[in-house]
Symmetry: C2
């Protein structure tokens, strides 16, 4: 019924997205007011969940009816077992998650206040992502797209290069990373979605249009876009050689944690379903917005019916930015 009014028929088989990168055990606290130093702050809600950039993106794929596989690493500890069990229970194939002997699993605490502001305290054991595994085109041939984050750069680079060889989309979640990581990964990506802080830092300007122009100049081989939270998203339209802007759905955000990850997962899935790029961006924007309506990180990601319903009632379309700022 829904497909009847969608822009295209759904694919005949579920698309399969490989997500490469972070798997973290998160503790989320909702607080009225953010603490400003030492002392005690009493949260009024709490949730514990396995997520992380790649893991949350994989969840978005699975929720939307796609197939999602995760390549990542956890420690050989109880938290690692819990991460793997939680993600597997969420419909993600975790056979590619390594258990690293002697390493501790990644854990993170996130405080979310009533203004939607966040304090994030992530701990990554340096031993977790040291190993280098070769990835061949055969290893990724079964997937319809590869999406990598910046958490395990060596593996991400291998996966992007293999995706190129296999002729499938190689998507980079261009978030804030250690020095040089974006510069190493971006050349191997066919599609890059930058986060606002990473994009501003790389482009050296806060102006979204200028950011996209500059990043497109730098990574001209790829589809270049950046997300700006409630200010929407921007991308470079290669056909018309201009920057496009899509406003964000207007919502009262309760929890923006993992919104970017849900965007990326939806982006990768819709991309390999063959959707036009504007519709890919509309879907990803709306999925991320819906996520923000629910406390609990990735848990708010919509299923296909929810997303289609919301898209049907959202008239916003992309706008070409014709100003010639350089």
């Amino acid at each position: 019924m829904i497909s009847a009014i969608s822009t295209q028929a759904p694919p005949t088989r579920a698309r399969h997205v490989l997500c490469v990168g972070a798997a973290v055990f998160d503790t989320l606290f909702r607080v009225r007011v953010m603490p400003t130093g030492q002392g005690k702050v009493l949260p009024y809600d709490m949730q514990q969940i396995a997520e992380g950039m790649a893991a949350s993106a994989a969840f978005a794929v699975a929720r939307l009816g796609g197939k999602a596989s995760l390549w990542g690493a956890v420690g050989d500890d109880e938290t690692g077992e819990r991460i793997v069990a939680d993600l597997a229970g969420s419909g993600i194939d975790i056979l590619g998650v390594h258990r690293v002997a002697g390493a501790r699993s990644a854990v993170s605490t996130i405080l979310i206040d009533d203004d939607g502001e966040r304090l994030i305290i992530p701990f990554y054991d340096p031993r977790l992502h040291q190993a280098v595994y070769p990835v061949t085109a055969d290893d990724v041939a079964a997937f319809d797209a590869v999406l990598v984050d910046v958490r395990w750069p060596e593996l991400a680079l291998q996966a992007l290069l293999a995706a190129n060889k296999a002729g499938i989309p190689a998507v980079l979640d261009g978030d804030v990373a250690s020095d040089g990581v974006i510069e190493r990964l971006a050349p191997a990506a066919t599609h890059i979605v930058f986060s606002q802080p990473a994009a501003e830092c790389l482009a050296g300007t806060p102006d979204p249009v200028l950011i996209v122009r500059r990043l497109k100049q730098r990574f001209s081989h790829a589809f270049v876009s950046a997300t700006f939270g409630n200010r929407g998203c921007y991308w470079f339209n290669d056909e018309r050689a201009c920057v496009c802007h899509l406003e964000a759905p207007r919502i009262a955000a309760i929890d923006t944690l993992a919104a970017g990850d849900i965007f990326h997962g939806t982006f990768a899935l819709m991309l390999c379903e063959g959707m036009a790029i504007e519709d890919v961006m509309r879907s990803a924007s709306m999925a991320a917005a819906i996520k923000c309506l629910t406390f609990g990180g990735r848990m708010g990601a919509p299923d296909g019916a929810e997303l289609d319903d919301a898209l049907r009632n959202w008239p916003a379309r992309a706008v070409d930015i014709t100003c010639c700022s350089k």
Copy 2:
């Protein structure tokens, strides 16, 4: 060999302390500098451990060679299983820990900065400590002392009253609590060890000597004491009707989390071993100080040999405060 120079021979059998109250799954982060608002802070060390006031006190008892039982509550969730397994693995009898259907286990995140300052974010599900269980003298007759914290006031009160009937020490960890909790529990305690913030709040003054005098006036039936971190501890000497002060061992504290709990557990164990009160306070002070030398909450609690060694090399004795401040 150690017993030969101790103040008294060790008891012929291990003393058994019942601890009643908090059991929490803690995530500890070490950070260089405490965050002052929203954003991201990257910890350089992390540890996850089951503790909480009563649970950490029980651990202190077990580490020192005593027998420790914990009465408390966890949710019927994975975190609850992990709390129980961790505490059982630490030598604590957890048969009295309830698993509350439909409740979430207590979890807490603690940031510790390089100045030793702490930010604590504890979450307690209100459903965790609602049940009221009657406790008889028979239920506590097998124990040599009962120690309660303020986390499960209904159960703590029952346990203190039963301890009175059974004729064993009824020790109250007088920490900051909801309105009226201390006032309800203190009359049933034979020994009270207040924390500095709770003592200051109850006595309405920051002066330790005045605090102890005022709290002794209010709870004249009990042994009254208060701990003041690196300023040592104070108590009311009933024989000489004066306040005594014992300075704190001079240490470079790395992690003061659970120091009070280790104090309380050591206090209760030494008390029911029949030690003189000054030696009880010396032992408790030193055990708490040793704990502070190790990152990891309760994990730094000493065993009996460590504690005896340290006490032998610590000449500090209690000093009577003869000033007549009122």
